[in-house]
Amino acid sequence: MKQDIILAGVGGQGILSIAFVIDNAALREGLTFKQAEVHGMAQRGGAVQSHLRLSNDKIFSDLIPRGEADMILSVEPMESLRYFDYLSPEGIVVTSSSPFVNIPDYPDMDKVLSQIKTVKKRVIVDSQKIAQEAGSARAQNMVMLGAASAHLILKKENLLEYIRVLFAPRGEKLVEINLKAFELGRKAAADKLRPSDKG
């Protein structure tokens, strides 16, 4: 059993928080994991990504080989495409549909979405709207984690536990908002899944 995940987004969107929750849940479930991340210059509003590998066996490379990712989990739609060649032909894309536009030449949204839709298995949710509904626009990362959760090889309860651990230092209110963001994201993904993908 293994799951290789590319986490994608823009610096500041909190993809390392997603990684924290998944890493710890994996450790709790006795899995091996490696998670390569980006620090330093690229974090300043640039494209950021993290390679997250889970397995019940040994993991060698810190980087996922191109063509082997089981999932691209992206907090930003165009960023989900930046790592397209990492996805295995059987892989799933779980992405937000809310663009983060901080560049002058952001491509046409219809084109972005139609490219995403060339992937057979995909979950596209409006993370911005859902995060606001949960109580904070900053919780988009947890919305996306929720949207991906049914497709992760990890138990939901363990993910929830580490969302609590992550946000507890910043107060009960933030814990509640992020748990809600997760639940709403999970629900939105279940509603969105095309019938053929169910079951």
């Binding site: 823009v10 994991f33 490696k34 998670q35 640039g46 295995s88 060339t118």
Partner: protein, 534 residues
């Protein structure tokens, strides 16, 4: 001890703590900063051991060397180019030798994710003739750092641990061992540490005589391993560090491995290398960084009767970091099937200054003020503000190494550049800007130095600075810059006109002037607010 989830950097730090570390020093630099951040968190405010940021890597190295002189265990960590700054004490500490264990951790950055070059620190280890470990995973990062302290004390020399970005910034589980006690105070021998020629010659001889012992240690090290495939004599692989992982990744669904030598220490384990080479016809060398092992292996004359494959014959690329796919190709395996974008064109998303960043306002004013001077040049330096090279600012024309802006602006001015402007951050100024400014003040060179004082080391995540606010103004004055030409401005949109005027006045002054643009990094302001609420 409980298992921990750690970055490669943090695994090194924990290994050092458990090896009985007494003092650790560093200057922030990607990808090494997280070593010191972890140490500071675990030092309990210095009660457990000293963990401190230094003003630059050279000073950090010397502080660590002092701890080692006193018989205690010391670690100094930095990014690869930091070792250029610390090269003087590093090279000479190989001659003085170490008293308490002295470990120098250097994190290389192949592909230059956050650097100006991709120099390979293994050459430094060879240059100084010291022992070097290169871990390939987190557990090894922990274990090798522990062992590095033992080797340092056993051989009486500093020992290097070489990391690369992919390990430094990757997270995984580490199983720690039991911690051991720190050393007690025991001074070094004065005449070993006083490198007068008479002492240095004797010490250098001792160092060169130790080299055989170093190779012997490499041959015996449990971290190097040679596995011969008796049935297959056509190909053998020598791999080190994270490159070793990429080889195994590609063999994970193969029934058997070719003969493999994993190298984790330098100097090279000569007996093991010979063992592999004798067994096979072709040797593929896979290593992250420069072709260090490969060059050693080929020498000038090559290996008679054998074929060596690697970076030097184009089998693997000479620049940039490796990846599982690149190594797969070098192994002659079929590429994996992967998805491709249709005719969709991705837009690049380069890093940029944060919204509201003080540097943006400083650049806006500077650009405006310079409009009247088409012959001007702005020399710059290393920090978030280097992003001023990109649109929409296009404000700077150089970034070479820490502190270079000031020396280059002086040289430029002396060659006829006017206005010759240097732009440098507060922390880079403390690191390497004081001495060139002293030089420029002495000559009263016709140039303008702009110090962007955001009161923090921002690029690497917010470490403390040594030269900010009032202290910075006093420092600049103390170096001999005339008081009337030290101007402090506040880079804010509402001050734009005032600031343009201030710059213009200083360009018009025919001598050295310093403009300090002082406003806190917005990320820091945000962090402080958050911690006040929390």
């Amino acid at each position: 001890m409980k298992d921990e989830i750690l970055l490669g950097d943090e695994a090194v730090a924990l290994g050092a703590i458990h090896a009985g570390l007494s003092g650790a020093y560093s200057y922030p630099g990607t990808p090494a900063s997280e070593i010191m951040e972890f140490l500071i968190r675990r030092s309990d405010g210095g009660k457990n051991f000293i963990a401190s940021w230094s003003v630059n890597e050279k000073v950090a190295y010397e502080e660590a060397l002092g701890v080692s002189f006193a018989g205690k265990r010391a670690m100094v960590s930095m990014k690869h180019v930091g070792l250029n700054v610390a090269a003087d004490p590093f090279m000479n500490s190989a001659i003085t030798g170490a008293n308490g264990g002295l470990v120098v951790v250097v994190a290389d950055d192949p592909s230059m994710h956050s650097s100006q070059n991709e120099q390979d620190s293994r050459f430094y280890a060879q240059f100084a003739q010291v022992f070097c470990f290169e871990p390939s995973n987190h557990q090894e990062a922990y274990d090798m750092t522990r062992e590095a302290f033992d080797v340092s004390e056993e051989l009486g020399i500093p020992v290097m641990v070489r990391l690369v970005t992919r390990l430094s910034h990757s997270r995984s589980r580490v199983q720690p061992g039991p911690p051991r006690k720190q050393n007690t105070l025991q001074y070094g021998i004065g005449k070993d540490w006083t490198l007068l020629p008479v002492n240095a010659r004797r010490r250098f001889k001792i160092l060169t005589e130790k080299q055989k012992e170093l190779v012997g240690l490499a041959d015996k090290s449990g971290f190097n391993s040679l596995e011969l495939n008796k049935k297959n004599t056509s190909l053998g692989i020598i791999a080190s560090g994270v490159a070793f992982n990429y080889v195994l990744e590609n063999y994970k669904d193969q029934p058997e491995l070719p003969s493999m030598l994993k190298i984790s220490t330098y100097p090279l384990p000569e007996t093991l290398v010979a063992g592999l080479v004798r067994h096979v016809e072709r040797v593929l060398v896979v290593e992250e960084g420069y072709p260090f092992i490969e060059k050693n292996l080929r020498g000038i004359l090559g290996l008679p009767g054998k074929t060596v494959l690697g970076k030097l014959d184009g089998h693997l690329p000479l620049t940039g970091e490796l990846s599982p796919e690149i190594v797969r190709q070098a192994l002659g395996m079929k590429p994996r099937e992967k998805l491709q974008l249709d005719d969709f064109k991705l837009a690049g998303r380069p890093p940029q200054l944060c919204a509201g960043c003080p540097h943006a306002d400083a650049y806006k004013a500077l650009n405006k003020a310079l409009e009247a001077y088409p012959q001007s040049n702005v020399f710059s330096d290393i920090g978030c503000y280097t992003l001023g090279a990109l649109p929409p600012y296009n404000a700077i024309n150089s970034c070479v190494c820490m502190g270079a802006s000031i020396g280059m602006a002086k040289g430029g001015a002396e060659a006829g550049v006017y206005p010759s402007v240097a732009v440098i951050g507060d922390s880079t100024f403390a690191h390497s800007g004081l001495t060139p400014l002293l030089s420029a003040a002495e000559a009263n060179t016709n140039m303008t130095v702009v110090i962007l004082d955001n009161s923090i080391v921002a690029m690497t995540g917010g470490q403390p600075t040594f030269a900010s606010g009032e202290g910075l103004v006093r420092m600049v004055g103390g170096l001999g810059v005339k008081r009337d030409h030290i101007r402090v401005i506040e880079p804010l949109p509402k001050n734009l006109e005032k600031n343009i005027q201030a710059f213009k006045e200083e360009f018009e002054y025919r001598g050295l002037s310093v403009v300090i643009a002082s406003r806190e990094c917005v990320q820091e302001v945000r962090k402080k607010k958050r911690s006040e609420i929390g």
